[in-house]
Amino acid sequence: MSTNENDEILSNRTSEGRWHVEFPFEWDADDLVSRRQLLRWSVWASGALFASTGILAALSFTRDRRRGSLAAIVKASEVPVGEAHYFSYPGPEDQAVLLHLREGRFVAFSNKCTHLSCAVYWSKERGRLICPCHEGVFHPETGDVLAGPPPRPLPKIELREEDGTLYAVSETLT
């Protein structure tokens, strides 16, 4: 290696090397953020969090807790006691589950898990509604969470029986 090459390498390693020409910025030019500025920004961030919570509160006044309209599901005689029937309600993409718990006792829930929207299924052996993704367990009578990470109960679907046919009336959030 020649002396000139050595000098060049050494000069690149010093603070006044080539990088300094290509990136001519100094630490001193960096903006200083004082504690007071940080405090001010944190208060504005706090304001943004408050605004977000306030928007949710305002939206809660416009949100309808019930959705869906009357729709036929299945003939009651086609679902034996202890069995489940899967259907779509209120929209074609919204999956739901109808359970025949005891003689003449039907309940229906949205079968979209309230944790991460996995499809919930009826486990006859365990007598529970199960979310297979993260082992969420729901009560078949109420839709309440019994175990696992789901934060809310399953939305309940109101039912009506007419002439042996089960109808979904509406889906309620709680």
Partner: protein
């Protein structure tokens, strides 16, 4: 933008801000620590409000928003107190 320090045309870096009066730094640090803790609480309140909103609990969502607003007002008051104390000195 920046002014090069090394080489021709170098200028001295700007002087650092003057040190705060005795005791004032502690006050700012206390305010900052409290602000960060309260902001964490507000973040939790936001997730709680979202959960309650999805649950259809209107009252709970409004209460969460009110508490979050009070925390924000507390932060604003803290800023004002700090400004007032620094002006007084």
């Amino acid at each position: 933008m920046t002014s090069p320090i090394h080489g021709a045309g170098a200028t001295a870096p700007t002087a650092p801000p003057a040190a705060p009066p005795p005791g004032h730094l502690g006050l700012v640090m206390l305010g900052l620590s409290m602000g960060i803790v309260l902001m964490a609480i507000q973040l939790w309140l936001l997730t709680l409000a979202f959960n309650l909103y999805l649950l259809g609990d209107r009252k709970g969502t409004v209460v969460a928003a009110i508490v979050s607003g009070l925390v924000f007002l507390g932060g604003l008051a803290m800023l004002r107190v700090l400004r007032w104390t620094s002006q007084r000195r």
